[in-house]
Symmetry: C2
Subunit: 676 residues, 2 copies
Amino acid sequence: MPKTEARGARKTVPSTPQRELQELAAARIVIEEVSPEINGGRFPAKATPGQPLIVQADIFCDGHGVIDAAILSRRAGKSAWTESPMRYLDNDRWRGEIALDHQAPHEFTIIAWRDLFASWRAEVVKKSDAGQSLGSELAEAGRLIEQAIDGDRVGKAVDRRGLDILLKAFRAAEDDAARLGLMLSDEVAALFRRAGPRTDLTRYDRVLPIRVDRPEAAFSAWYELMPRSQSGDASRHGTFDDVIARLPYIRDLGFDVLYMPPIHPVGRVNRKGRNNSLTAGPDDPGSPYAIGSEEGGHDAIHPELGDFDDFARLVAAAAEHGLEVALDFAIQCAPDHPWVREHPEWFDWRPDGTIKYAENPPKKYEDIVNVHFYRDALPSLWYALRDVLVFWAGRGVRIFRVDNPHTKPLPFWEWMIADVQSRYPDTIFLAEAFTKPKMMKRLAKIGFTQSYSYFTWRNTKQELTEYLTELTRSECRHYMRPNFFVNTPDINPFYLQTGGRAGFQVRLVLAATLAGNYGIYNGFELCEAAAIPGREEYLNSEKYEIRAWDWDRPGHIRDDVARVNRLRRQHPALRDFTNVEFYNAWNDNILYYGRRTPDRESFILVAVNLDPHAVQAADFEVPLWEFGLPDHASIRAEDLVTAQPFTWRGKIQHMHLDPAVRPYEIWRLIGEADAS
Amino acid sequence: MPKTEARGARKTVPSTPQRELQELAAARIVIEEVSPEINGGRFPAKATPGQPLIVQADIFCDGHGVIDAAILSRRAGKSAWTESPMRYLDNDRWRGEIALDHQAPHEFTIIAWRDLFASWRAEVVKKSDAGQSLGSELAEAGRLIEQAIDGDRVGKAVDRRGLDILLKAFRAAEDDAARLGLMLSDEVAALFRRAGPRTDLTRYDRVLPIRVDRPEAAFSAWYELMPRSQSGDASRHGTFDDVIARLPYIRDLGFDVLYMPPIHPVGRVNRKGRNNSLTAGPDDPGSPYAIGSEEGGHDAIHPELGDFDDFARLVAAAAEHGLEVALDFAIQCAPDHPWVREHPEWFDWRPDGTIKYAENPPKKYEDIVNVHFYRDALPSLWYALRDVLVFWAGRGVRIFRVDNPHTKPLPFWEWMIADVQSRYPDTIFLAEAFTKPKMMKRLAKIGFTQSYSYFTWRNTKQELTEYLTELTRSECRHYMRPNFFVNTPDINPFYLQTGGRAGFQVRLVLAATLAGNYGIYNGFELCEAAAIPGREEYLNSEKYEIRAWDWDRPGHIRDDVARVNRLRRQHPALRDFTNVEFYNAWNDNILYYGRRTPDRESFILVAVNLDPHAVQAADFEVPLWEFGLPDHASIRAEDLVTAQPFTWRGKIQHMHLDPAVRPYEIWRLIGEADAS
């Protein structure tokens, strides 16, 4: 039972000094739950030029007065802030936008203040509506004008003159009604908004970073190929010149990025044979991921591909075809990589003096040895790896697909990416981390520009809806840019193995219209699906042998690929992937969604039959409400596959998707149709 | 199209110095999403002694190695940390508990490390299972023992001896099988857990505060009364002695806190009459919230109630009855409060020299004037208000119900609560802020110990389920302790106005069994519901007149009140309100939920018929699964209203709640019944 005596007696505590109290009191307005703010500002939100960054925060103050708020933003390192207004949404939530035009690090914070004029105005309107006397309020109005004139926000001469004129007019007005009319005018409201005092101005206590990348960071279509398989003859090792010959084909498909797995000398020790067998035949080329031999390591080119001049020609020719070359950054080494000899301290050695090859028990990777990053490898290995990327960046490569980053220390990546980007700000890093979700997100936070995703294994309507909702609605939308690969040399998805041609069309359209970045690995457009039975691996994988492809193989879907890539470029709605909105189509096999720009000028609808084996049909909702139209309205639209305009009359329509014909529809909504 | 030349050329950037790189590299393990962490550690999580604080975090590292983690906690200002283990939950989430025994500020952080021995062990087990050779791994084991002996974690002599013995035994073992058996033993695992090296030890970069209040902060039952209405005679102003006479009654109802609205002199200027009329009759006592007259202000007692000796006797007598006195802290003043004369600079004056009374247009509160907190009132008013609370704390009052805190500056409260609690650490503040949700939460963050809630207006099954889910599952559970008042002098809820006696029973049981803190305002136990028509206000409110009550009035629910308060004290399951779990009862008018201690020793079920006008029945689920029992199992239980033991056979049971009899059931689950 409570006993006063037993509880803590009074302690002698000195009073807070007046100065300290005034500092505490200055932060009168609450600014919290700011978005985007990643780990308390430890990591930047990501943006691209031309795409405004939306900022939100909870902002509120004691009492009933009117408050206002703004975003302050600037390029990092500059002193002058740019102010962008915020607007009240609901439930104490505010929203504003920052325009970002330069590909450079930026930062922002938020300010809020009490607006005494707006409070005065709101109170006067209420009292006036209630028929209450306003004499005292009008006397206060005079004080408000005087305070504005004396305030520190009258920057422009025109505003000072405006306030002086207002004060004169106010004093000269013949009665209260005239004074009231004057003070409630829109011009005076605008004048006070520009030049009125900001009472209890409060600033958010953090400055938050923004990384602004070039547009290709968020929007690109990748084509992956093994250069050694591009000769058209499986018995002849392909060269960079063979790749150059393929560029018109890749350009015509509409891709932006040409990505090649490692182009370095391939190790000979423990080289793997065809289909990952333990012993290689004399002509087997080995896995390009077993990097390094006596011909060189990560800064060398596999001699059979060509030399540095050939590589330079490929980079230049690709650019002429609208393509940018992306290289692979895979840190592991073949046992005969020069580093093993030159830097034994970077590797793990067994007590018997032999080198430890890679394993993930019970799996063994005998053709690969891994570096470690600590002990004697810190910092020399870190510098060496950074130098590898600087080396290739110096040769025109600004996109790197990074192999398995989640098995290397996170501080290494955070440091290395920042270091390379401080030298080459336009460098893009794609994280190939197929691992647990929080690790994938952390890699994106610490600097990876793009991320491989779980898309490859999300096939059903529910799986796709849930995954896209997470990617586009949860906090990770601010820092993680997925790159939806439909297949890779390592992943021959079961869906494609069994879905036939329509299955390839389905996955193509989903990847290309649900993500900003997507990619295919060559053979996809030919509907190549031959697999090692029961596994998601390609049969006769190019990882272990040279292949020759017939690019005109019957049944290919090159037309579909070229079409979706063309539509992606033509329609701004398809750029910012976070705008996806799932709409109702009453069939669990049909995924139906919209993408639109904020102004609705570009509004795309996509419907995909996820069942590649059977016709699926459904009633569905045309989102008339997004145009403010009633359910019975008519709306003009265009079929983007056939380029035919048409009109939908009423919200509920019907679709019929036959995989034998085409398992998808892509439409554009234009706007209300004339009643006719 | 990308042009290499056009993109940023290489900048000359110096390499990161080795020392800096090593510092970056040290934080190898990710520790993020720590809970509880309020606004990045700006505000403390709240706890009470004896109730362990649950800490969670996302913790992970690159690669496949085994990691481990622990919480470090201590009393603020002490140097030595106490370590508490964390355990892996799922999806990289870890969990641990801190035992908090002292009512004092605490703090905590998290450490994590790579456990090379555990990694070695896991790999060896996998390889051994796969039948692979282990010679090399066993050679490594010797190194691991040597490293442990050389490490810095061998604190105890017994562990040092243990490692030495292990090394000898390991070297002396006759073959690999013996060495393997030794290294895989549980004793060796425990030895390494205690004394093995912690590789890449990483510490979370924040130290997070915890406020530990006394138990009454989280668990208390309040009884509110107007002391002037306790004489039993509406024509005689009640005194503190009259309140003393009521103490046995309040004790018998089982309450912990006796809360009285302001006891200070009541203003005479613009005093309100009965039912909030603008003119008071000569005998009208006025609103106790119009504080201050020539008899004194916030540090004075209304003369008709008694003097300071009488008050001291009340505080002491209350304590003897197991009750603690709570006072009201309402900052507004009557126009004749001494402060108006002594400190005109604390008030707002109109241009015509008259004082501004309180208004919220078009409403006016002519009997009240508000202080402002800035300009000339800072800091003198702040000190004066703090001194008022220190004054009453010095007279044995350690619980304050604060009137409308959301209309006063938040920095004031944050400073003042911290200041008072630094002098009287056991002081409890209840925020009476019926306002927008984010403001209510912020008040709880900045220091208010308890919060009035929206409970008073949550009546349906859906409303109650959603609201309790928010309170007990979202982040606010760490800092906001709701106090569920069923009624107040200001709120006569429509549900009670129309629900009859059963309605009062319903709201009583909900408040008492859904929240740690709850309260009633006198008259509730008598089912008093007379209202101003169409409003949630009491007719003939005690705020404006003296009332006399017949405490034995027919139809009262004093038995129910005493019962729920007794059950609250008897059953530990009812202490931590965040343990509420809603179970299935297939009737939208029946709310059915469980409360239990983590060990299930105390397990309470409550079912309430929310419809006070009709019998409601439902099948419902007995949560056998919480005891690990199958659906057909039998479980022993007790009816806590009738004190009758019984057995439920099978998961699905049926209930029948008749408001004319009793609209609720309270049961206790005991455990599996013998098959019989």
